[in-house]
């Protein structure tokens, strides 16, 4: 019975993930970074990383989960959580509806219970296709509930961030999600919880300045833009052009803000190692 359900869940996840995959108008796709054309099947085999230059093309939340989790382990959490329109912002509800139609997501985050290499954990994945993965009340609430769920179940928490920051259309309520999520992470960690923060392109603004920077372990995909202020705002403020590679993962590693850069095909082995290293610790 259980296996039947997990099979069904897997099919749903695969369906969602396929929906997020490359829509093949042609059989080959050019890399936006190096310009080289590769067969879509090679992009796919390479989890949407350019087979020529290693450019990490953004992927959707379900796609990432499908690539990451043990088959049959995916169980979505809080999937009914709906976005709100606390400012009654003109045009916002329509925008949310269009995006739901377009992406199959209710808002920019998906939370799930799952396992990698048989290690159970709570996952949250942000999706940059949904208003740049920005954090409004729904994203803040989902991250918070996931952290609280992980606290209660004594499970590790793994969050993949991809976000332009706070969501403007929800104004001050978006800002408060920074405090709310940071507080939930703090509470989780103070009770011995392991939080692995995985940063993907781009992670900026209020997400960088809250839960995304608080990992016990800090990891990032190669070449991801990670920062508080966006490069254009900085350039306007200081009146100079920023050097190449500024605010990229490699730069953050060099400046002491990351433990390691992990290429997309390495997430599973790295997470399996880390979860293994924390087993038998204080909390289990």
């Amino acid at each position: 019975m259980n296996r039947l359900f997990s099979k069904r869940r897997d099919r749903l996840l695969t369906y969602q993930a396929m929906r997020e995959g490359r829509i093949a108008s042609s059989k080959r796709t050019a890399c936006p970074a190096c310009g080289a054309e590769s067969a879509n099947r090679d992009w796919e085999r390479n989890v949407q990383v350019c087979p020529q230059c290693g450019y990490h093309s953004p992927v959707g939340a379900y796609y990432r989960l499908a690539a990451l989790l043990d088959p049959g382990s995916f169980q979505e959490l809080e999937e009914k959580l709906e976005p709100a329109d606390p400012l009654e912002f003109p045009g916002y509800p329509e925008k949310l509806e269009d995006l739901e139609e377009e992406t199959g997501l209710r808002d920019a985050a998906v939370a799930a219970l799952g396992s990698v290499g048989m290690h159970k954990a709570v996952f949250v994945v942000l999706d940059s296709r949904f208003l740049m993965g920005s954090m409004g009340t729904a994203v803040g609430e989902k991250v918070t509930r996931a952290a609280e769920y992980a606290t209660k179940r004594k499970l590790p928490l793994i969050i993949f961030s991809a976000s332009g920051g706070a969501r403007m259309q929800e104004g001050i309520f978006s800002l408060m999600q920074m405090a709310k999520t940071a507080a939930a992470i703090q509470r989780f960690q103070s009770r011995g919880g392991l939080y692995i923060s995985c940063l993907t392109h781009p992670t900026t603004g209020g997400v960088t300045a809250s839960f995304a920077s608080l990992g016990d372990i800090m990891l990032a995909e190669p070449g991801a833009l990670i920062g508080f202020a966006g490069p254009r705002v900085i350039e306007q403020t200081i009146g100079e052009t920023l050097p190449e590679g500024f605010q990229r993962s490699e730069y953050l590693l060099e400046h002491g803000f990351l433990d390691r850069i992990v290429s997309r095909d390495q997430w599973r082995p790295v997470l399996i190692q880390l979860l293994g290293l924390h087993e038998g610790g204080k909390r289990s």
């Binding site: 709100a84 329109d85 606390p86 400012l87 009654e88 912002f89 003109p90 009340t137 803040g140 609430e141 918070t144 706070a166 403007m168 259309q169 929800e170 104004g171 001050i172 309520f173 978006s174 800002l175 408060m176 999600q177 920074m178 405090a179 709310k180 940071a182 507080a183 939930a184 992470i185 703090q186 509470r187 103070s190 900026t204 603004g205 209020g206 960088t208 300045a209 809250s210 839960f211 995304a212 920077s213 608080l214 990670i226 920062g227 508080f228 202020a229 966006g230 705002v233 900085i234 403020t237 200081i238 920023l242 500024f246 605010q247 400046h255 002491g256 803000f257």
Partner: protein, 274 residues
């Protein structure tokens, strides 16, 4: 309705003669001992903090400092802190908790500084750590938004048991100029942004983002500093007395629950909540 439009309030909140953190510390506290530096990199003048007495009782007081003239503006970077400022604030708050002192913060910043070195030294991480630390402090924390509450740079000092706002202060996810340029690619539409952002003290009280609005003199705090000081003094005294009834863990819990509940939307506009 207020006599001032949200756009006018933004101007009042930024008024150069409005009292700032240094003025509040001088007027409301005695025995102030300034603490400087983050012990890691450098001293950031845009955050002023230290130990002082509030009606005889030692407290830790921290606030954004904009400066009163061009020279001060420059040393204070116009009240826009870098990570060093936020790390200094963390250092002071940890000490406050260690020695059982309440934390009182004054919030008045256009936002955290969007600079090259600030990014290099982890502006995002510094703010995130402030939020996490403040959320769990087992001493009373009271924040007063006195002027501009700009973005994460303001929130980093405002995870409090009670967040109060001066009547004409503003508090928002981003400056109205930044908001307009992100959403409409046109910073000149900031007036329009003010109208939709719900950034006034009255709006925020209604949305339970702040717990109290402190009345200002008719034409704004800059016209009568003494009256403004008296109002803040009374409010701080009252809030501290209320929070003194809670023990350390209960203070952390109350703060957690308060921020936990944020994001349920604004109830419909009612009468003025001052």
């Amino acid at each position: 309705m207020s006599r001032y439009t949200p756009e006018e309030k933004v101007k009042l909140a930024r008024h150069p003669e409005r009292p700032g953190t240094a003025d509040f510390i001088e007027a409301l506290f005695t025995d102030f001992f300034e603490q400087r530096g983050d012990r890691l990199c450098r001293e950031d003048g845009s955050i002023l903090g230290g130990i002082a007495r509030f009606h005889g009782r030692p407290v830790t007081v921290i606030g954004h400092r904009k400066g009163k003239n061009l020279e001060e503006n420059l040393t204070c970077n116009f009240g826009m802190p870098g990570p060093e400022g936020y790390r200094k604030a963390q250092r002071l708050m940890k000490q406050a908790e260690k020695f059982g002192r309440p934390v009182i913060t004054f919030v008045d910043t256009p936002g955290a500084y969007p600079g090259k070195e600030a990014e290099e030294r982890g502006q995002g991480e510094a703010i995130a750590q402030c939020l996490a630390l403040m959320s769990a402090l087992e001493v009373p924390v009271i924040s007063i938004v006195t002027g501009e509450g700009g973005s994460g740079g303001a929130l980093a000092l405002a995870v409090a048991n009670r967040v109060l706002m001066l009547e004409h202060a503003v508090y928002s996810v981003l400056s109205p100029e930044g908001f307009a340029s992100i959403l409409w690619k046109d910073a000149a539409r900031s007036g329009e942004a003010c109208a939709v952002m719900k950034l006034t003290a009255q709006d925020l009280r209604r949305g339970s983002i702040v717990q109290g609005v402190l009345r200002e003199p008719e034409e704004g705090a800059q016209t009568d500093w003494q009256a403004t000081f008296r109002t803040i003094d009374a409010a701080l005294g009252k809030e501290l007395a209320a929070l003194d009834k809670l023990k350390g863990p209960a203070l952390a819990r109350q703060r957690y629950e308060m921020f936990r509940a944020m994001g349920q939307g604004l109830p419909p506009a009612g009468k003025e909540d001052v």
